[in-house]
Amino acid sequence: DTAVSQTPKYLVTQMGNDKSIKCEQNLGHDTMYWYKQDSKKFLKIMFSYNNKELIINETVPNRFSPKSPDKAHLNLHINSLELGDSAVYFCASSQDTGYNSPLHFGNGTRLTVT
């Protein structure tokens, strides 16, 4: 009964490949996010969706494309992977769009690009 689940947990791939990370939440939340955590543990928001609509799109290369088929799912597709994309990617959800809502995080996907 994991609240926010993302797959895969580990992803090792070569430069130039295309890969996807999937995320699902069973909390009934309206808003979902993708965060990137670098090797120094800094967390940076990439995207935010509310009820399947994009509401935040930070400065992220066009190679990253989020897709939300319904409000319980937010997937992240990455084209033409680069070495610098190696990081841990976290999916999260919150009750509403307000920053006053605590975020619930998945356990992360560690992406290694070789």
Partner: protein, 112 residues
């Protein structure tokens, strides 16, 4: 640059001691949240304190907020080995949409 900056970056204490972590931020905020991250896991929400609040408690956790100094502290009393984790502060601003901005975290080690 990061909105929140935690201090210290790393902290090592003995079980039973108190641990204090600080967070400073640069712009006005509407609330500040603290999260814990165990190794290899996602972040877990601990406490949210609003800008009009000065102190909040949750079990062994005590959070203070000083908006005049743009700083917050997280105190863990009577620490346990299970408290070993990284602790992050995150700030929310109403002119930043629903974006929470995280600091780089404090890595706490509690030795048994």
């Amino acid at each position: 640059s990061q909105q929140g900056e935690e201090d210290p970056q790393a902290l090592s204490i003995q079980e039973g001691e108190n641990a204090t972590m600080n967070c400073s931020y640069k712009t006005s905020i509407n609330n500040l949240q603290w999260y814990r991250q165990n190794s290899g896991r996602g972040l877990v929400h601990l406490i949210l304190i609003r800008s009009n609040e000065r102190e909040k408690h949750s079990g062994r956790l005590r959070v203070t907020l000083d908006t005049s100094k743009k700083s917050s502290s997280l105190l863990i009393t009577a620490s346990r080995a299970a408290d070993t984790a990284s602790y992050f502060c995150a700030t929310g601003r109403n002119n930043a949409g629903n974006m929470l901005t995280f600091g780089g975290g404090t890595r706490l080690m509690v030795k048994p």
